[in-house]
């Protein structure tokens, strides 16, 4: 059988890779891609804790579904913002979007 540790290590690694993407990418869309990786890492954790705990407690799966909903909402609004910014400023490089900076 697969020990729980494998899933946890995998999800930690995936989370770190996503974090690296969020911190290092220039393009705003690519930053959102990194966020998706991190959300997926969280979901792996939630589902594996459900499986390795008491399977009749559905909290793990339910929260995974809520993460799906949140991810969908985040992507819809995030990408709408990116497209809107692109229309006004003609760029999607996160560093160049500095209207709020001084």
């Amino acid at each position: 059988m697969i020990p729980l540790s494998w899933y946890l290590i995998l999800s930690a690694a995936l989370f770190s890779i996503g974090l690296f993407g969020v911190l290092s990418r220039k393009n705003a869309v690519a930053i959102l891609l990194g966020v998706e990786l991190m959300l997926n890492a969280v979901n792996i954790n939630l589902v594996s804790f459900w499986r390795y705990g008491d399977v009749s407690m559905m909290a793990g799966q339910v929260f995974a579904i809520i993460v799906f909903a949140v991810a969908a909402a985040e992507v819809a609004v995030g990408l709408a913002l990116v497209i809107s910014v692109y229309r006004r400023l003609d760029t999607v490089i996160a560093d160049e979007i500095d209207m709020m900076k001084w």
Binding site: S5, R25, L37
Partner: protein, 169 residues
Amino acid sequence: MTLPQIFFLITAFVILGSALMVVTTRNLIHAALWLIVTLFGVAVLYALLNAGFLAVVQVVVYIGAIAILFIFAVMLTRKEMRDRGPQLNRGWWLSGVIAALTFGGLFWLLQAWSGFSKTAADFPSGFDAVGQLGNALVSPQAFVLPFEVASVLLLAALVGAVYVAFNRK
């Protein structure tokens, strides 16, 4: 090595490899396609964890909707068909260090936990996970309120996305 373990290792290799490609590849469309590979790998993991419903929902929601939205966003926000120049910040090595530290810290915290290497009990035969999940989602004793809040959030996000991206002439 048993069969599930081999499956897990192959899947984990695919997930991590494609995730690395997502954050490093230059062509953003390719990054989005690699993201799809990652998401598919995660769906396989759900299937390995006996969460078949989540595996299918992962494919429907993530690959069918989110990844395609990403591809569209990439297509709509580029001036040339090819991406030029480096795609990473100047301080990317610092981000790498932070990510590595995060992984190290998580690993260190986790391995100190007593339940770290426990194995799963056998899946109870005749246990209807999908039915249980459905009951949990709509029963007032369980999660009906978070479920409804999530649906309201989705509606709000839908309206917000249309409002933000709407092109006023």
